[in-house]
Amino acid sequence: MPDLLLELFSEEIPARMQAKAADDLRRMVTDKLVAEGLVYEGAKAFATPRRLALTVHGIPARQPDLKTERRGPKIGAPDAAVQGFLKATGLKSLDEAKIQRDPKGDFYIGLIEKPGRDAIEVLAEILPVIIRTFPWPKSMRWGARSGKPGSLNWVRPLHAITATFGLETEEPDVVKFEVDGVAAGQTTYGHRFMAPDAIQVRRFEDYEAKLLAAKVVLDPERRKDAILTDAKQLAFAQGFELVEDQPLLDEVAGLVEWPVVLMGSFEPDFLATPAEVIRATIRNNQKCFVVRDPKTGKLANKFILVANIEATDGGATIIAGNERVIRARLSDAKFFYETDLKTKLEDRLPKFEQIVFHEKLGTQAERIERIKHLAGLIAPRVGADVVRVERAANLAKADLLTEVVGEFPEVQGLMGKYYALAQGEDASVAAACEEHYKPQGPGDRVPTDPVSVSVALADKLDTLIGFWAINEKPTGSKDPYALRRAALGVIRLIVENKLRLDLYVPAIFQSLFFADRTISAFEKDVAKKAASLDFVEPGLAEKLAERAREIARSDRVLEGGFDHYHALIQDLLAFFADRLKVQLREQGARHDLVDGVFALGGQDDLLMIVRRVEALGKFLESDDGKNLLAGTKRASNILSIEEKKDKRTFDGAPDAALYGLAEEKALAKAIGEVKTEASAAVAKEDFAAAMSAMAKLRPPVDAFFDKVRVNDDDAKVRENRLKLLNEIRSATRAVADFSKIQD
């Protein structure tokens, strides 16, 4: 079967767009072929800086013929209907129609035969449409034709189209079409500098080979392989090791048609600048690789560049030119670094008063103050030194105002650490300057130093609480402030460091920063709720009221009552629960177990949630666990039926005097014991022990259901037995809500 070769030859396509464009071209052409009934055998697409190419092989030479039946009017229908039917089916007269019997009468049936067209004709129709509707992220107009409406949009000016179709054994035909004055043909061009002449091509095999002869490596994977192999060898030959960098490799392979790998060097003096800065300079600005000494792991004063030509002087001029630019860039970087070292981090802080963090969330200076406050609240809860934590929170953002970070945003934090160490800060404080941004994503390292942990938590929580306060929560796929990532960061910091942290208290304090109306309602509210708040933490009500008065004195004001803030934090905690669920599920935990634990309510201690889920999972794998679950479910089912029937609940302690059967008494006794034992275990956070206590319920529960009829004729006995069932349910709630768990 015949093959298609398509090439779209243009001015330089941005490197970052090439891979997707090749893929889009393959997908669009093959989808359209299949939709036209042309099922092909295989397809592959390629991109270089100047061309997109596609080969599709094994396309049938013709579309299959299509036969369809069309139901027409009833026999004896008015003439207008008959004429319409003849016109739609293309029949000359009703004699050519079949008649079909139907309970509703006899109908004419027209058989429409649509003969398949030659594939090359179909291609000539679909290819220009695909070119005109190609989904470039950004496209443009050019040249004289752009003066008229409807001119072609392409990523950069399109100069030539090659489109051939035919069998391997024959001379292929050109697919005849034209797009905006560019007619498809068989002519392409080689390397811009080394072989710029026109090349006549027939089909993919000679196309690829002729391009190679004309110094164009068509396949980006081959270019990448060549670059990587040559770069490694070049480094190795001089006793170095290439610092591999996949995104850079992808980009560089998209900048050349004929990769030539060369090595240059720079003055060793520059190595006094931090390695990350050198690498960022060489990589971002010059798109070159760096190399290191394999023994020490330290950067060497060499770089690897990828040129697009085999220069007649062996590359000497190219190396010298790149060395000059890299030298200039490194002197800039060195100058920036040395300039930065002259200003202490804390001396940069006043500038933050001018920089808006978010229109509704104040300046960076205010944000730093908030982070400091929150980090200070968290510090004692995670065993960190408050003085160090506050110092770190104060300095952690200062490097954003340094020259180096201004130039290379990706080294933010890291530079903070260097500058903090240089000005003699405590090692933990310096580490926190870098680590408070972590973890950035699911694969990123979680800091463990308590100072870093405190600031990292405060940084993320302040962001979350702030955006919650202004009601900018993530919705669906929209999460412009990366709040889900921040929440996951909080979860990982807590769980992976095994921290006991009730988030509620620090969070409620922090939420007051985002207040803006009168405080009296708030104070009254807090006073009213003093008892329950003090239960959360002794003296909490008074501390909150004091904080509210402080805020009022600083001329900001509190909006709404305490409930406003309480609801906000509850909502945020529910968001954490949600993210934790997602996280636990991704790690393979059963989602129903997670739901069972969350259904208990008031779960703001993320570590305890994780431990409960783990213990519950183990317990339910045992026979005791499975049977107890079955028993509890049975109790719950009976209860919910009877509750519905009586329109009441069966809360409250059962009356021991009403127990008639030994099994009832045994169950009541067991429940009493298990409750005590399980609560004690839960209080000690020994969930495994709580589960083994639960296991003791299994025999009496089984025996109860075996021997006792719940719906006794005596209404009082029935009520008492239902209360006993309710006790089973409430006893198991010490560990989870079993009704959420699936069998």
Partner: protein, 312 residues
Amino acid sequence: MDASLPAHMRPERSFQGFILALQRFWAEQGCVILQPYDMEMGAGTFHPATTLRALGPNPWNAAYVQPSRRPKDGRYGENPNRMQHYYQFQVIMKPSPPNLQELYLKSLAAIGIDSAVHDIRFVEDDWESPTLGAWGLGWECWCDGMEVSQFTYFQQVAGFECAPVAGELTYGLERLAMYVQGVDRVYDLNFNGREGDAKVTYGDVFLQAEQEYSRHNFEVADTTMLFEQFKMAEAACKKYLDAGWREGGNKKQHLMALPAYDQCIKASHVFNLLDARGVISVTERQSYILRVRELAKACGEAWIHTEAGGAA
């Protein structure tokens, strides 16, 4: 490169020879060779020969040197390649010819950059000027890893679609000349191509100016006056625009687009000076840029109602 040139006129020896070689090359491509516009501006794109001429259907091919003033980039003459005043060489061709890339590469050959030994690359760089309400797609052109030119296909200028599209080339003259002459410090460029006592360097011509203007731009420029000048230029621009409209037959015409646009250029430069003095806050900055853009858009609107702007 022209082998018959005397040594002191060769582009690799002489900054002025370098400029003359570029002018000659583009003159041969049919461009009118203009002289710099007689106003202070941040880039060659501001020249009405680019901004305004890019609009409308009439063909236009021009090349010129434009001194570019970037008050914030002043370094008191202490930085080897950053200055508050430097030269851009600007080429504009409308509609963009199909072989513009080839022409550009030939122009590099004309100033001594041989593509057989140099690695020349077109690296994605989309251009946008918020103050001009303009954008285009193109590349920064690299020579051995150094950015030497900007290459842009204008898509929109002053808020109007370019129809047809113009191709614009901007060469950073000092940087290219430094590369060709092989010097690392701009002030060491040989300006006149002579040697010994007859040699004049770029530093001889401009170093003192860089020092003086850096002082002026950062320390002394009279901000009260500048704020006033901004307002005056803005008001004058609007006034000239209003005064220029005429009903000619059944068509609207404009008779003063160019004088109005001068005031837009003025406002833009005054804003740059105020910015260098550090008296414009982050939020105000945006609103100043918007104000200049509004002027540029109104001037573009006026221009397309002039004869050269295509309103026959």
